[in-house]
């Protein structure tokens, strides 16, 4: 049963990550291959605040999300001038830089040793240390996240985001402040990704670089593409599917050493199959 909780907690964290990425990539049309950088910043900020500042959890959560967002504003403002391939490369480079910093800035991140001792949180003296309680916490935050994203995307503002994806010049000619909207989309995505990073680090108990490699960004993109871009249902479907499929390997009796390598193969195969068979993804309506 603990195992089921574990998988569900991971699903929840990835739902938040994928929904955020889908806002930026699916609705916004901005290729963000560096999502893992935001995830890692949120995680490390949370770990540092938790271990060194002992702040109340909710405050720490919001603060690490804001720290992530601040980094992203600085990155987003030049980034939104880039399109397509150029933006993809730049954000990929961002992911590489982030990993390198996490792995090498020994005085702050302790490099490969990571920041251990991140404890399960308590809110108003209710402890969320056990798995079922932590799952409850994650579920509530996922619900809030989906609520926020639903409201953003199902509104005139959401349509403006999609208009910018479709034709930025036409959107500007229709009176939409395209630069502001693009930066805002990055920031909203960053905020919730930071929250996901925080949830991850409190779950695992340690912030360490191996969780934030660039492969992780490709996994997130695969989840977006599989589930369908510009679709909240799609984000959920993509996240859950690609969290669960590799876990099913355990039941087929494959030793965990191989399972690790097989994961990457699985993601690749799923991605290729989906692009051939149903390019818009499970719930998507768009084609790239």
């Amino acid at each position: 049963m603990n195992y089921v909780y574990h998988v569900m907690i991971l699903c929840g964290i990835y739902i938040i990550l994928v929904t955020s990425l889908n806002l930026i990539m699916g609705y916004g049309g901005m290729f963000n291959v560096g999502q893992v950088a935001f995830y890692g910043i949120g995680a490390y900020a949370g770990a540092l605040l938790s271990v060194h500042a002992h702040l109340p959890f909710l405050l720490e959560l919001v603060l690490s999300a804001l720290i992530t967002t601040s980094f992203v504003i600085v990155i987003a403002m030049p980034a939104i001038r880039l399109k397509g391939d150029y933006l993809a490369f730049s954000t990929y480079a961002l992911g590489v830089v982030a990993y390198t910093v996490f792995n090498n800035w020994l005085s702050v991140t302790r490099g490969p040793m990571g920041i251990p001792g991140v404890r399960r949180p308590s809110i108003f003296s209710i402890s969320f240390a056990t798995l079922p309680m932590y799952l409850l916490l994650v579920a509530v935050i996922v619900a809030i996240t989906l609520f926020v994203f639903y409201r953003i995307t199902n509104s005139p503002y959401g349509k403006s985001i999609e208009a910018i994806r479709e034709d930025e010049i036409a959107a500007a000619a229709a009176g939409k402040n395209t630069s502001l909207i693009k930066v805002t989309v990055f920031c909203v995505g960053a905020f919730f990704t930071g929250i996901a990073g925080n949830l991850y680090v409190h779950y695992i108990g340690i912030a360490d670089p191996t969780g934030f490699t660039t492969t992780e960004s490709f996994l997130l993109m695969a989840m977006v593409i599989l589930g369908g871009s510009a679709s909240i249902k799609g984000s959920i479907a993509g996240a859950v599917t690609l969290v669960i499929i590799p876990e099913l390997l355990r039941f087929v009796g494959i030793p965990s050493f191989y399972a690790q390598q097989l994961r990457s193969i699985i993601y690749g195969v799923v991605l290729v199959v989906i692009i051939i068979v149903r390019p818009q993804g499970i719930f998507g309506k768009l084609r790239f």
Binding site: A172, A174, N177
Partner: protein
């Protein structure tokens, strides 16, 4: 009454004077056509007016307000709507959504309003949907309301783009070659919509190569060549003024 005015507008690209000391005026409730050979600077002039290009010198006035140097979305918000030479719709959105994106100042237009999702926002959006459907009816596109814009024909996309410009309730409408690539029936539809705009008091400026249409519907014709305005007047005056052969101008009297 002059709604849109350019004063000594200049724009060069390297050694090429694309727009060379152009001063024009577009009046409310009038159709002003801008004609001239390809490369005369007509679209560049529109780009300068709508903020997609910055003038090297000169001013653009909307009413009493200087708008040159502003970003395109600001100029659009101020009341200048345009269409593009190569039609720009939002291809993967529905026809109705395309029109709805033209409306300005909607409740729910900002992220905070979207999050609050007030009853006012929901109600207003419903009203705008009905309004957008009327715009589609005027263009005879009502049955295409749910169709993805990409799946409509070129002519239909031009009408959708025009509908989006109308939804903004502009003071000035700048149309770049609206008749290009259209069948006779579509041309008539387009003319009907443009004349409806004129009746509503909108200042309409067209760039157009279709001389028949230009002569039939224009109140003022401005001729450009090599970046300069070389003649300006009523359609009859322009035709009479012609030193260039009728074949170039296509005047049929």
């Amino acid at each position: 009454m002059s709604v849109l005015r350019t004063v000594n507008l200049r724009k060069s690209f390297g050694g090429l004077d694309a727009v060379d000391d152009v001063s024009i005026s577009v009046e409310a409730g009038r159709i002003t056509s801008i004609i001239g050979p390809n490369g005369a600077g007509k679209t560049t002039l529109f780009d300068l007016i709508t903020g997609f290009l910055k003038p090297d010198s000169g001013d653009v006035f909307l009413g009493d307000r200087r708008i040159d140097g502003l970003r395109p979305y600001r100029i659009a918000s101020a009341g200048v709507s345009r269409s593009f030479q190569l039609v720009r719709v939002f291809p993967q959105l529905s026809v109705l959504d395309n029109i709805l994106l033209g409306y300005k100042g909607l409740q729910g237009d900002t992220i905070v309003q979207a999050l609050l999702r007030t009853r006012k926002m929901v109600r207003q959006y419903k009203e705008k949907k009905e309004d957008a459907k009327k715009i589609l009816e005027n263009a005879n596109l009502q049955s295409f309301e749910k169709t993805i814009a990409n799946d409509t024909s070129y002519g239909q996309q031009k009408l959708v783009e025009l509908g989006r410009a109308f939804a903004a309730q502009p003071r000035v409408l700048l149309l770049d070659e609206p008749m290009a690539g259209l069948s006779m029936i579509m041309i008539e539809k387009m003319i009907a919509l443009i004349q409806a705009a004129k009746r509503e008091g909108i200042a309409v400026a067209l760039i157009e190569h279709n001389m028949q249409v230009v002569m039939d519907i224009s109140d003022v014709v401005i001729t450009m060549n090599f970046g300069k305005v070389i003649a300006s007047g009523t359609p009859e005056e322009i035709c009479a003024n012609q030193q260039v052969s009728d074949a170039y101008m296509g005047c049929k009297d």
